[in-house]
Assembly symmetry: C2
Homo-oligomer: 124 residues x 2
Amino acid sequence: MNLSEAEWTVMNAVWSKAPASVRDVQDRVGAERGWAHTTVKTMLDRLVAKGALREKKRANASIYEPRISREEARTSALRALLTRSFDGSFGSLVHHIVSEERLSKKERERLARQLGDDDAEERP
Amino acid sequence: MNLSEAEWTVMNAVWSKAPASVRDVQDRVGAERGWAHTTVKTMLDRLVAKGALREKKRANASIYEPRISREEARTSALRALLTRSFDGSFGSLVHHIVSEERLSKKERERLARQLGDDDAEERP
DNA sequence: GGCTATCTTCTACGTTTGTAGAAGATGCCT
DNA sequence: AGGCATCTTCTACAAACGTAGAAGATAGCC
């Protein structure tokens, strides 16, 4: 599932509050983007067509909910980035982060701990 | 500098052998993509227009070389990914990698070491 | 039962991306 | 000098993306 920039914006809004009406999404997204109501609706419809959202009708209005999880979408996006830009390898990505991104020592250690930690998965 | 999929393909070819002629790029890229000669040329021209490549004329032919480094481009691409898809934070990215990507324990440890290692920068 | 507010559907249009042919320019070989 | 092999320039076109107005459908209120 390949999402465009604008589509990510919409999906982020839906993931953070689903199910969501057009108005819900616009409240969240209109602020940062200043989109017209119909623009938001168009985006939502295209995402339904793409299979990223599911649409239900309540009375005359549509409500939307994710059909793919944020994690799934992240996985695709990351994979695409690795392939295009990092020789397809996590190693290149991490190397880049270490050598190019200005991380404090503390930050780097935090990330390293996160990575090395077996139980990092789901912890309440 | 925001590069598209196809542009990344071309840039990767140029970075790995610069300066490069249209033919050089096509030899590298035509294989995996099967592009026509003029398609490659169009891409190169667009990248010049964008400022990603510099064009020189040798006799009647053009040769191209990068104007931005692979690292710079990687930085932009990574930043864009973080912003769009990972709440703008490295933490979310690393968390995703740990919990969603199927890495072996060994692989995870290797990456963690890479991250934690002070001297990971440039070592001959 | 009609009005108004709200939603949706349809349509559209400019830009970017991906892809490439036709035609014109240039240089090299004999 | 003529011709072949190359290169470049111009132009095009379809699909995807970003954005949105006009017009039609609904529903709740008085």
